[in-house]
Amino acid sequence: MVQVGTDRVKRGMAEMQKGGVIMDVVNAEQAKIAEAAGAVAVMALERVPSDIRAAGGVARMADLGIVEEVLKAVSIPVMAKARIGHFVEARVLESMGVDYLDESEVLTPADDLYHINKKEFTVPFVCGARDLGEALRRIGEGASMIRTKGEPGTGNIVEAVRHMRTMQSQIRKVQSMSYDELMAEAKTLGAPYDLLEYVHKNGKLPVVNFAAGGVATPSDAALMMHLGADGVFVGSGIFKSENPEKFARAIVEATTHYTDYELIARVSKGLGTPMTGIEISKIGDADRMQDRGW
């Protein structure tokens, strides 16, 4: 019997992206540059996060014309973002043939209480998380891939580092707990018990875990890989840099060879200026994207 949209097919899709870089693009031309540089997938958007931050107002699902243009332009998988809780945006993107959906805090949330019930979809979802509890809640709702939230559009890696370190340290703690302690920990973290049990037994999340939110240089990407990321999302970091093609290629190579520092030095030379960064303390509470969702 043939089955589509099973956990194995949805989570397997993310497994195939491991060790790779997923790049934000806003048109067909950028999508082709990303593909030529070795991206494993592209995220089709109307604006990259730093422009969303600058524009203010309500950020929604991308113009579907852009999504269609990107779908036609490349042979690698295409992802797109829906607002938190906006299952109709998600259904519309799924119907267009988007390969992976991101229920994303970069867009303005559509529901302040509930995330999308992702189990009902045939296409897989990726969701952001700041810690283990949040990651397991999203997986409980059906996410097939997790990424750190970081602080999108800042070019500042500090929040992604914090989120990845927090998750890894919580995973180690859960792994070393006695069985008796697991239910109390599930209560503390607000995590589904069966998924916490999986983490206890296996010492990792049941799905792939990428880094996102602030990656701006090849060294940033390599740093996240060292901290336990399975791969990297780069949002504004590529097309807001001085030389997107070179930056894209260099970030791809640094992600694969993250332990080879001479190679990272070689690919990082002469790249020009990375995107302009923002110090996190300069961002007001209302503009912190990572605090969207729960």
């Binding site: 019997m1 043939v2 089955q3 589509v4 949209g5 099973t6 194995r8 097919v9 397997g12 899709m13 497994e15 195939m16 992206q17 491991k18 060790g19 790779g20 593909e35 070795g38 991206a39 494993v40 997938a41 042979s75 690698i76 998988p77 799924e94 043939g97 988007v98 390969d99 992976y100 045939t122 296409v123 897989p124 791809v252 190579e253 694969t256 060879h257």
Partner: protein
């Protein structure tokens, strides 16, 4: 028996786990020097365009021609099968071009069309769990090559001498019978190369 898994991008850990489960020693290969003492190689699933670029950049094209000339077996799954093929539909240039097959990329459609199904595979199992993810299929197997499995009238697994290709992902299951089949190929190839 030591098998390498090409670790430029993709589902590397899954292949290493499955190879170990099938009884082999398995290591990740990121640099051409690491090919030296291997008896066989797996090219995993991932994005074939990404892996192909990195292979060119880091000298794997030449190194793997040499590896193949030494009669060492290579097993490609999904993207790995595309990288092994002599011809790719709609593309002027192949990657390694070692295995005498033609493949078509994303032949079943996009991710929403990805599926799993139980398949009979000749010499492997009557009921193998086959996971297809944005999978290619094999349009044609030429020469002495042998079709191992078909789904919906399309070729999804084949062997051409020392080369083995699957359009699906045996590494995403707990079933190591396909990897055992590959290890048998490696054993044969070692026997042929009896010590001088």
């Amino acid at each position: 028996m030591k098998i390498g898994v090409l670790a430029l991008q993709g589902a590397v850990a899954e292949h290493i786990r499955t190879l170990k489960q099938a009884g082999a020693e398995a290591v990740a290969v990121k640099k051409v020097e690491e090919l030296r003492d291997l008896d066989g190689l797996v090219i995993p699933g991932g994005e074939s365009t990404t892996i192909g670029k990195m292979m060119r950049k880091y000298g794997f094209m030449e190194a793997l021609q040499q590896f193949a000339a030494e009669k060492k077996p290579i097993f490609g799954t999904c993207a790995g099968a595309i990288l092994l093929a002599k011809e790719i539909v709609g593309q002027d240039e192949a990657h390694l071009g070692l295995m005498d097959i033609t493949v078509e990329r994303n032949a079943y459609g996009r991710q929403k069309d990805s599926f799993e199904v139980s398949l009979p595979i000749a010499g492997v199992a009557p009921d193998f769990p086959a996971v297809f993810i944005r999978a290619p299929y094999i349009v044609e197997v030429r020469g002495a090559g042998q079709v191992l499995a078909k789904y919906d009238n399309k070729i999804v697994a084949a062997r051409d001498g020392q080369f083995l290709a699957a359009a699906f992902h045996p590494e995403l299951t707990e079933d190591c019978r396909f990897h055992k089949y590959f290890l048998d190929m490696v054993k044969e190839s070692r026997k042929d190369k009896a010590p001088v």
